[in-house]
């Protein structure tokens, strides 16, 4: 039952993703991609759980978890900041410097 429930979430999220993105103007494709990329850094949540399990888990698992935390943090922090920097440049006439 659990699997069915997760699969349902998966299917609905995919449809939602299609609906959300299909109408984005091409002007915004780069920020959209890099913003979506930052969201895919959500795997950081999994990495935190892997790195923080403590003595209960083998050393190798903790090491892998820490590397995962590093990778995913770069992805999340860098992704959001760079997207913000890009979007800050999109200005309309009149709002120019």
């Amino acid at each position: 039952m659990e699997v069915i429930f997760l699969a349902l979430i998966l299917v609905l999220s995919i449809f939602l993703g299609f609906e959300l993105i299909s109408k984005v103007p091409s002007t915004l494709h780069t920020p959209l991609m890099s913003g979506a990329n930052a969201i895919s850094g959500i795997t950081l949540v999994g990495a935190l759980l892997a790195a923080g399990a403590g003595a209960a888990s083998p050393l190798l698992a903790t090491v892998l978890g820490v590397v995962a935390v590093t990778f995913a943090t770069i992805n999340v922090v860098g992704g959001y900041l760079v997207t913000d920097r890009m979007l800050g440049m999109f200005k309309k006439r009149g709002a120019k410097k």
Partner: protein
Amino acid sequence: MLGNVYINAAYIFAAAFFVLGLKLLGKPSTARKGNLLSAIGMLIAIVATLLSYDIVSWNWILVGAAIGMVVGVAASRLIAMTAMPEMVAVFNGLGGGASLLVGWVALFGSVDLFISITAMISMVIGGMTFSGSAIAWGKLSETITSRALVFAGQRFVNSAILIALVVCVVMFVLEPASDSPYLYAVIGLALLLGIMAVIPIGGADMPVVISLLNSYSGLAACAAGFAINNVILIVSGSLVGAAGFILTNIMCKAMNRSLPNVLFSGFGAAKATTKVDGEVNPISAEDATLILEAASSVAFVPGYGMAVAQAQHVLCELGELLEDHGTEVSYAIHPVAGRMPGHMNVLLAEANVSYDQLIEMNDINPRLESIDVAVVIGANDVVNPAARTDENSPIYGMPIINVDQAKTVFVLKRTMASGFAGIDNPLFFGANTRMLFGDAKASISAMISEFKG
């Protein structure tokens, strides 16, 4: 410390912020707010996770997070806008790599059939994303050649790797253990497959590859979510997977090619046969400026060459001069111009071009006949009329910006060398075409000083 109910409640909030954020990202006026909302969602998810019972040891997390923060902040601040495609490739790769590791760690706990299968999927997709992005980064930064690398028997080799990968995954799933040799084989083969998949793809097809890798990084996170039974990973991962897939599709359509064709054909490696004969009409910067001054409407059509020449700032300056002069100025942008989706828009936005002047291909094409001067800056295949007229052309059927229909066309070009697709461009020989040879930035600067003088 929070129990499971609170964590999942927080995840629901995070998911709502992601959805809202993605929605607002779709409009230029709200996009920045959208990105902020999505970042808040991420913060909620992370804080909730950190407060859960499952996290007992903090020191290592802090080390990893601190390194990640410093690198992430530095990279996002220091990177030049022209280097954005390779930056996105690196971030994609790191996300994929993290998902690979998360899937791996999931195998250290108690493993049932479902966990071992989903962990394998997240490791395979994550590994391919990681190594594929590394190659994409190399190609985009010209660290390795951006040309398509094709060799005899490539398909055979790739099929063999894929079959070996599937066999190893099955062998592992039959007898899952965190020290199984098949586990290491799967990781190695997934990394190898990612490299082999991106190597045969040439520079101009990079927009497709980047969006596809973006989609993969989401799917890898999604699979990792199944492996560790975490709902927020599944929701966000599949949102990103779907978004990346849509972008991939848009990019393929803009080239009139199917995704398999882009991925497997090694386009750009083959030499096309169609030759065009005729006279080209060169023009000097002085004469070009005189024509621009007399024009009442001008459309600039940038391509990857503009990024290479770093000509976006001078281009914007010329555009503003023309506008002050009373000329109607627009920037016509092909969906696959440049090396990633929306590449030209970002560069022009950096140069302070107002976003309502950035016109999409389908909106500018009906208006081109009434435009006095179309100025092509470092674009080639996306303005090649052979795509419309020559059935033998490899790019036949690809939607292009019909600059040849404008009253006059200037083409700013270094030499007569052909574009990425290696095909001649009849546009250069058109009766209404004038070639302005030289570095795009130097040419535009020359026009600016003529204009002022």
